[in-house]
Symmetry: C2
């Protein structure tokens, strides 16, 4: 029955030979790779405003937005270099490990794994926030809605949802187009029809150090707009040839759209005085759409497009996390189950793991995007920094082409993102960034410990120079709990696998022994029966002692213990029988040179 | 290490030959058997007053107390007959089953099992209430204190605390003597020094039907004073000879002391105007002691004696519950693990079960004696009624001696307790008595189902007319996950147990197969290797299919599957390896004719 449910949810198995790779034209590659980056415009402006709200510094939002746009341009320009250098896909782990060595590579891998989990958690909570802004009655069920969304995305990925361009195209283009319409309409309204737009609030003044801290926090919060920008560089092989050129063009498109959307929303939010509302929890994007169009059908289109693209962004992490963890597993840094290709040709264990961890985070942070954001950007910028630093090293070592110029571009990118990473970490430290900073070394230590374990295993299992014995000499005993029909097959089985087997009976109550001995004559199948005394009425101790004695005999390599076992018809019937067999198996688990064999007897009724 | 902790808590095992039976003189038998009954005087009066408090009918407490004293005398008189008739111990289950048949016996057994659990829960909560009355700061920790007490009593019983007369004598006699001093002093104060004793409250008047209901509820609540009165009749063989005479005398003593204590406390509570206090939760007995002596050292002696005798009363149930459940288990009505005599010569499983269920009840009822009381008396009176009805039947059938008079006495006892049982059930139904009424048929149905299961097992396991095969023909296969040191011993083992064994390799990734085949030539120990294709990358399906195919061959009775298994050095290392062996064992659990053998390989580092 379990198998049937599984088949219904996950689908029929797919044979290995059907594994293949799609090649995407630019028009479809954009939605596939850009959904993560573009979707962050749905919440980045809001996070800036929230950080500024402490002091009412809302008029700084536009300058901060411009700084972030510049940063975005620098990082995009720098990532173009990665596309050129790694036509096979330049994920941060690959680039860093190859150019900076193992330890920085593992740091980048840890940062990425954390980043992917947070991409799921942040995107899903932000998507549900777009939904609950349109339908406020759902606000109180937001955690449940988030978990439901995670379950759906996890199942879809277990079924093997590929990065299918057409599925991504509709919501992504819908999002881009509807947001552009909103921004254009909004700017038009702002310029020519200023009715109903509130006057800018009076400018408050704070002491400079505090003011700087608040501005840096707002900047750090807005840096979430950059998340996902590396996706195209990771996925160059999915483009139609010429791959690097197409990927590079798509990256420029994406950066342009991203900057335009982000700046547009930030500008409008300032103009329309949209600020995060702690009571209604309505998103800034929803406030803007409502202010510009009213709550007409188009408002609902915008909200739906926002929710959909955010869920697609989460889906991106469902591709990346299992892929990276399978690479780590293949290289022996992660549990090797993560490298198992499931029967739908996906890394099912990684998908389930990601879903579980993201769901736990959402529950822990009560489904609040704001609470998760401080954790988010740290890992992203750490991997940006390391990845671009790796590129610098590569250009310097290869010394090919315009290597000086290239190294300078990547160097500027790396230095900028490195500084931003430090800023984010310091200004958001107590808000949650410390968790990521603490988690990364823990991850690295575990990755290394796992790798060490596998290496040790490999050494221990190596056949090099191994001289096995020619033959094992083993003694077989069969446990006799009583003389009844259930043991007969075990006795016959024991006779069939050994020359001189022996049956063993533990005398818990000496009063029963004569009856057992009498029945043995008729039913013992010719096996000798040894009665072990048990002065303390324990089944285990005499048996374990006897097995140890047998094992210590010089001509015995292995002791086989045959345990006749009932299988009851209903699971709860099992509670009605002593589970001595199970206990014995457990007790023997740690005894070397003992082989446990269960011969089962089935109760039919 | 677990074994060491266990030894520390529970003690060294005790050999079977040290099992013996103490014989108690009357002076020691009284505390052993009377602690349960006497301890109920610590709360019975309070429960009467609590029931009367609804209408302020406190002046009815003394007449109700007298009614209960009369009932107590009738039941004691009736139980003397059981002592005479059952010198071997006349527990309700034995008497009822022998005289009224199996079904009434099982009803009595169910009522008794529930009764024992409630004895523990009620006695422990009342004991802790005595403690928290003296030390009110502990009031808020009462549930934790109750659970701690249960843990201590459970451990003491697992160690094999016998009904040692000396341990019981000190607290019981301390309780009797200190309560008598309190009662005598109190009556003296009441008669000659009425200062500080409040005037009786004005008598409220209620409509007769409601008034009757309240009075019946108060009576029902007070009937808890009778709990434990059957203990002497159950334990006749523990008395010094002449057993029946000594037991009978002790019963009369106990009934006398019980009536005197109960009436004395009820009278004083009325005279001193002590009523249950919902805010301080101070017990009525504590209020009395404080009113009579002030909070001097003797007050604390009384409270300590009360707490101790109540915990001893709980201990009584720890003797009775495991004994009754072991009798039921021996007769096949309860899981047979309950009949296992542990290594300390006690029915350890029954003791643990009782402790767990009582602890759950205490947590569920927030450690409140009042909340538990409505559940308590129902089971007690049901077993009283059935047990005495059994005696009536016995006298009528045997027709020995003054059988008419004896039958009349038991008949009066049975009829009275039967009526009281109905009264208790009806007036306390919604307070919780319904749970017991609902639980008893559920228990009986389960006892019968268990019995049926064991009978069916016995039939299926019977050797009568069984013609076993002469010899089993089995096919042995060994699973090869890869060629490494860990499988070599499994290969040698497989060769040693069969004529024509076969190694099986499931091809998850066809790219690895040539390497495996090449290594096999050198390390395969001469076994043929069969490669199973797995188009869906599943390990299980091709294997299960192949095993089924082998099993269906006409000359194969059994298929032995040898699974080489790693044992890692640390448990968490196990998470780093595919647990295919475990999954396979699970999948094969339901396949008949398959024997699973694990040959383990230990990783040392």
């Amino acid at each position: 029955m379990l198998a049937a449910i599984r088949r219904l949810l996950i689908g029929e198995p797919i044979p290995t030979k059907r594994a293949k790779h799609h090649r995407l034209p630019k028009i479809l590659a954009l939605p596939v790779f850009a959904s993560d980056a573009l979707s962050s415009t749905a919440y980045a402006t809001e996070e800036i405003l929230l950080a500024l709200a402490v002091a009412g510094y809302f008029h700084y939002s536009v300058p901060i937005g411009v700084c972030i746009a510049v940063l975005l341009a620098i990082v995009s320009f720098s990532y173009r270099q990665t596309i050129m250098a790694y036509p096979g896909g330049g994920g941060a782990f690959i680039v860093v490990r190859e150019n900076l060595g193992l330890y920085p590579g593992l740091i980048a891998a840890s940062a990425l794994l954390i980043d992917y989990v947070l991409t799921v958690a942040v995107s899903i909570t932000a998507g549900i926030a777009a939904l609950t802004s349109a339908l406020p009655a759902l606000q109180e069920h937001r955690v449940a809605l988030c978990l439901l969304s995670i379950a759906v995305v996890t199942l879809a990925n277990l079924r093997g949802a590929k990065e299918s361009g057409t599925v991504f195209a509709v919501p992504t283009y819908l999002f881009i187009v509807s947001f552009f319409i909103m921004i254009v309409t909004g700017i038009f309204k702002m310029l020519f029809n200023a009715d109903g737009i509130p006057d800018p609030a009076p400018v408050p003044v704070a002491a400079p150090p505090i003011a700087l801290f608040i501005l840096l926090r707002a900047f750090a919060a807005g840096c979430t707009a950059l998340t996902g920008i590396e996706a195209i560089a990771d996925g160059v092989p999915a483009f139609q040839p010429p791959e690097t050129k197409n990927a590079s063009i798509t990256l420029v498109w994406m950066a342009g759209i991203l900057i335009a959307l982000f700046l547009g929303i930030t500008l409008l939010a300032h103009a329309f005085g949209a600020v995060p509302d702690k009571h209604t929890h309505e998103t800034v994007a929803s406030q803007l759409a409502a202010a510009i169009f009213g709550r007409c059908w188009f408002y609902y289109v915008i909200q739906a497009a926002t929710a959909l693209i955010l869920i697609l962004a989460a889906n991106t992490a469902y591709q990346d996390f299992p892929r990276l963890s399978s690479i780590l597993a293949r290289d022996g840094f992660a549990p090797r189950q993560l490298a198992n290709l499931g029967d739908r040709l996906v890394f099912a264990n990684g998908i389930v793991l990601l879903g579980l961890v993201a769901a736990a985070l959402i529950v822990l942070f009560h489904g609040s995007t704001h609470a998760l954001i401080p954790l988010y950007a740290v890992g992203v910028f750490m991997s940006f920094t390391l990845s671009q630093a790796g590129m610098v090293r590569r250009f310097i070592q290869c010394k090919e082409g315009a290597w000086r110029r290239n190294a300078a571009i990547s160097g500027i990118g790396s230095a900028t993102t490195g500084i931003v990473c430090c800023v984010i970490t310091s200004v958001k430290f107590t808000d949650g960034a410390w968790m990521v900073i603490a988690a990364i070394p823990v991850f690295v230590v575990h990755l290394l410990a796992i790798s060490r374990h596998y290496r040790v295993c490999q050494q221990e299992l190596s056949l090099e120079g191994y001289r096995p014995q020619r033959r094992v000499h083993h003694k077989v005993i069969v446990l006799v709990p009583g003389v009844h029909r259930g043991i007969i097959q075990a006795l016959l089985y024991t006779k069939s696998i050994a020359e001189d087997p022996e049956a063993v009976y533990v005398e818990l109550d000496p009063a029963n022994t004569p009856r057992i001995l009498e029945a043995w004559g008729e039913w013992g199948q010719g096996l000798p029966l040894r009665v072990l005394k048990s002065p303390w009425r324990s089944l285990m101790e005499p048996l374990l002692g006897y097995i140890e004695m047998l094992d210590n005999q010089p001509d015995v390599d292995l002791v086989t213990v045959v345990i006749p076992e009932f299988v009851t018809n209903r699971w709860w019937h099992r509670l009605l029988h002593n589970s001595s067999g199970l206990l014995l198996k457990f007790a023997l688990l740690w005894r070397r040179n003992v082989v446990v064999t269960n011969v089962r007897y089935y109760l039919d009724r």
